[in-house]
């Protein structure tokens, strides 16, 4: 019987060998895939087993880490002034992942960035608890607060930039939500999450960066820039050859009319047309400049850029790449398929204010290690030369005129040079919903500059009163005042 017994021994050894090979397979070859599996809670448990770094606004942190010693998780993220800063911080949740800065700056905030390697190794050796690094934002809390207060009770967004650097001073979206309310895993957090994601008002939508609106008349700034650059218009105060109403080219008597009625848009000068926001003048200019040249102009101001990050990703604004002259005319007054994020329109104002140079918007000024040594610093970079200094100067003159004598008078700040442009964009099929009220502007005072774009989607104001002038401009004004101290 010994021969079969020996064979059985070999068989048993093979069984054990097979198990060993399998163990190496699972624990070696497959390990990284298993560790990265979305259902493997270990990653999240590890991430909340020590405090994350801070997101800093105006010198103080707007994030906290609560030592909760929960069943799975030791720490939970919490936010100071959560709803106001939510479009900047995003959320970091044990159950629902993360977004915005909490997501893109996670390597620093979690301390896992390779640049923190030596410090982490040192902490491990000295037995210190691991800690994440800090992210310092460019946000000015006063500007942010002004925009937040202004949007209360409305629905919309406001973005403020420093035109000379591209630093984002304010990033407001309303309605908003408190990221603290979805940071945990218990049923309260889950029901908050469910409520927020089901809310028709979309409080978790970052309207400043991730929503696009038809820019309406505010887009006339881009059309004006193209008209001046191409030489279609050389003197901003000379009459143009503009019928009222303007029959869209290539259509059977389809008319482009002016919102304000017939109050002098016929053959109006570029300056006057911008002040009165004449659709006819700019529609005709756009069609004459042509689709290709208009597209080129829009792209110089930042449209159609789907890869922009600040470092949070920004939804691309759109100017159609192929269309006929009638659509080009409509697109040139910010209708048809033209769409822009509030950040995009703030960039238009900023480029004009900064003598034609468009700086790349950025939200993070510094990344720091847990011990406050600076790991990286953002230096301002130029995104494009949107227009020439000469054209920019003319646009500035016209925008100042809008605020002084035109549709933007509600944005006047005594003693401060303010330029602006209102917009009231049609919304809905056959324009049956409340239009979007826009105001884009800039202000200069005492060496400081600020560019602001505000959009108000909807509000309880009766329809006739909705206009950039009444809804959006006062918000932009208060943000500019907050920054300039006037």
């Amino acid at each position: 019987m010994n021969k079969p017994i020996r064979r059985v021994s070999v068989f048993c050894m093979l069984l054990v060998l097979a198990l060993m090979i399998r163990a190496n397979w699972v624990q070696g070859l497959d390990a990284s895939a298993l560790n990265a599996n979305v259902h493997n809670k270990r990653t999240v448990i590890e991430a909340y087993s020590y405090p994350r770094g801070d997101i800093i606004v105006g010198g103080t942190s707007v994030t906290k880490d609560l030592l909760v010693n929960g069943n799975y998780y030791k720490y939970r993220r919490a936010y100071v002034n959560g709803p106001m800063y939510a479009p900047i911080t995003g959320y970091s949740s044990q159950a629902f992942g993360s977004n915005l800065l909490e997501n893109v700056e996670d390597p620093i905030l979690s301390g896992n960035d390779p640049r923190l390697f030596f410090r982490n190794a040192l902490d491990t050796l000295t037995g210190k608890q691991k800690q994440g690094g800090d992210v310092v934002t460019t946000i000015d809390p006063k500007v942010q607060q002004a925009g937040w207060d202004g949007l209360q009770g409305k629905k919309g967004a406001a973005v403020a930039l420093d035109p000379s650097t591209g630093a984002i001073l304010g990033l407001v979206s309303f309605p908003s939500y408190d990221p603290s309310s979805i940071a945990g895993v218990t049923s309260d957090f889950a029901s908050n999450w469910k409520k927020l994601t089901a809310d028709p008002d979309q409080p978790m939508l970052n309207r400043a960066l991730r929503a696009t609106y038809p820019p309406g008349s505010t887009f006339k700034l881009v059309t004006a820039a193209a008209a001046l650059e191409t030489g279609k218009v050389t003197d901003i105060d000379a009459s143009t050859d503009s019928p009222d109403p303007y029959i869209l080219p290539g259509t059977n008597n389809q008319k482009l009319v002016n919102e304000a009625g017939d109050t002098g848009c016929l053959n109006a000068s570029l300056n006057a047309a911008l002040a009165m926001s004449c659709n006819t003048v700019f529609g005709k200019l756009g069609a004459e400049i042509g689709q290709q040249r208009m597209l080129q102009e829009a792209q110089k101001f930042g449209f159609n850029n789907s890869s922009m990050t600040i470092p949070v990703g920004v939804t691309a604004s759109n100017f159609d790449t192929t269309m006929g002259p009638a659509q080009t005319a409509q697109s040139s007054i910010g209708q048809f398929d033209t769409r822009a994020t509030p950040l995009q329109m703030a960039m238009v104002a900023a480029a004009i204010c900064n003598n034609g140079t468009l700086m790349k918007p950025y939200l993070v000024s510094e990344e720091r290690s847990a011990s406050n040594s600076v790991i990286s610093q953002t230096s301002p970079t130029q995104l494009s030369q949107a227009t020439t200094p000469d054209v920019a100067a003319k646009l500035q003159t016209m925008m100042v005129n809008v605020v002084k004598n035109g549709t933007g008078t509600t944005a006047q700040i005594p003693g401060v040079e303010v330029g602006g442009k209102t917009g009231t964009a049609q919304h809905g099929v056959n324009n049956d919903q409340n239009p979007y009220a826009w105001f884009v502007s800039w202000a200069k005072f005492g060496g400081k500059q600020i560019a602001v774009a505000v959009v108000v989607e909807d509000s309880d104001t009766a329809r006739g009163d909705i206009s950039g002038m009444h809804l959006a401009a006062p918000i932009a004004k208060s943000m500019m005042q907050a920054y300039l101290g006037k």
């Binding site: 020996r6 059985v8 048993c12 060993m20 699972v26 624990q27 390990a31 298993l34 259902h39 069943n71």
Partner: protein, 460 residues
């Protein structure tokens, strides 16, 4: 064990082996020390201090194994010196891992089990001592051939007549009495080899007769197919009525291995594998429970909506996160496995906290224990002893393969305990008894034959 050595033993089985009781004692010191140190490390990692029960635990485990050792010295002086230390080490490590999971407040529900398991281990060692002392000659077990067979049948059939509880996950492998439950499949692991040994002893010549040669194989006579068909049918009945894949495979596997050893006919193995394959295929196509297990095996990382991955997936996550060296005792998250983390899935905790290194060490211990048992079979001088030792060792090795293979996703999972390590009273008691019987066989096999000169240094 080298090949040369084993051959020498096989061809000259009468050659006396050294007694090696002192080797056993020194190995036992390690076997007790390693778990105590692991216990200390776990306590330090979880609470930042040495566990309060360390002295009691160390002394308790130490005195248990010392008692067992003294018993071996007294009743089986020539027995194999490795089996007892390996069993003690595995049992001790199992207690540490169960205690570690007792401390996981994240595990719900979490009924402290280490205390009970220590008690069961004590009872297991007590049974070990009883077997040592009372079973003067294992050959007397031959008298109970049919009684064992009957008892095994009864125990196997019993769970089918008891109501299934919600927590049993579809498998009828428990008998629930008030307060505690018994897994009768475990005891069968000893009873069946006893029955098969006795039965095959008598029938092996008839079963070895071949009717004709086919493709180089001696095919058994048609009328000799009776026993294997009966065992096959019974194992299928277990599978269908108790939905217990593990016991079914184990039951049939032991029989095929012992049949092969008894008759030395490879054709029986082929028959067995063919029949098992056919039966399994048929049941897998009709039984929802078995099919579910196979689906889970094929797609361990498939997630039910809102519920995450199943237990095998969680066990794989635990193993994967352990990597080469593990997170360290007490520092893993294997409690994510949830239900049965301390019993069927305890390998997940081992893999996570002491890594693939620890898993391989544990597998080597199992392999070594099985091989010592099979070596005992080689050395045994009587066919009953040979068959019994093969049956017990193969049962042990098969069980390890079934449970570890299931938890690591190598084969479909079947509810089985990791011998000596996993939580479970029936299991630990049976395994101690199994080792005791093997030691008894080994004692007789290594004992100098009558009239043979004693080796120098061997006590009279």
């Amino acid at each position: 064990m080298t090949a040369v050595e084993s051959r020498a033993v096989a061809w000259a089985p009468q050659g006396p082996a050294p007694v090696r009781r002192n080797t056993e004692l020194s190995l036992l010191v390690f076997a007790a020390l390693v778990p105590v140190l692991a216990y200390a490390e776990t306590g330090l990692a979880l609470d930042g201090r040495l566990p309060a029960g360390m002295l009691g635990y160390g002394l308790g485990l130490g005195s248990f194994v010392l008692l067992a050792h003294l018993c071996v010295r007294r009743f089986a002086p020539h027995a194999d010196p490795l089996m007892l230390p390996i069993a003690a080490l595995l049992n001790g490590l199992g207690l540490v891992f169960i205690w570690r999971l007792d401390k996981a407040r994240e595990l719900h529900p979490n009924y402290p089990a280490a205390q009970n398991q220590l008690l069961w281990s004590g009872l297991g060692i007590a049974l070990f001592i009883v077997v040592m002392a009372r079973l003067k000659d294992y050959r007397r077990l031959q008298r109970y051939t049919y009684l064992s067979g009957f008892a095994a049948l009864l125990l196997l059939a019993a769970p089918a007549f008891f109501p299934v509880r919600a927590g049993d996950f579809g498998a009828r492998i428990w008998i629930h009495l008030d307060g505690f439950s018994i897994q009768p499949g475990e005891f069968v692991k000893i009873l069946l080899p006893v029955f098969f040994s006795g039965f095959l002893m008598v029938k092996r010549d008839a079963l070895a007769l071949a009717s004709r040669r086919f493709l180089g194989l001696y095919l058994p006579r048609g009328r000799d197919l009776g026993p294997i068909v009966v065992v096959w049918a019974l194992s299928l009945l277990i599978l269908v009525f108790e939905t217990d894949l593990g016991t079914s495979v184990l039951f049939f596997g032991i029989f095929v291995v012992m049949l092969y050893v008894a008759t030395e006919r490879t054709s029986w193995v082929l028959f067995g594998v063919l029949m098992a394959g056919l039966g399994f295929w048929a049941v897998a196509h009709t039984e929802g429970h078995v099919r579910g297990r196979i689906d889970e095996w094929l797609h361990p990382l498939a997630a039910a909506p809102g519920a995450g991955v199943g237990q095998i997936g969680q066990a794989l996550f635990a193993l994967g996160s352990g990597g080469a060296l593990g997170t360290g005792l007490g520092q893993g998250h294997s409690w994510l496995i949830g239900f049965a983390a301390k019993s069927d899935f305890i390998l997940g905790t081992i893999g996570e906290e002491i890594g693939v290194t620890g898993v391989i060490a544990v597998l080597l211990l199992y392999g070594l224990l099985a091989e010592r048992g099979l070596r005992t079979a080689l050395a045994a001088r009587d066919p009953f002893g040979k068959l019994l030792a093969v049956g017990l060792s193969a049962a042990f090795a098969l069980q390890v393969f079934i449970v570890v293979g299931g938890v690591t996703g190598l084969i479909p999972l079947t509810g089985m305990t990791l011998p000596f390590v996993a939580q479970g009273g029936s299991s630990v008691i049976t395994n101690w008894a199994l080792v005791a019987v093997l030691l008894k066989i080994s004692d007789l096999a290594r004992r100098p034959a009558p009239g043979e000169p004693l080796q120098p240094g061997t006590p009279p």
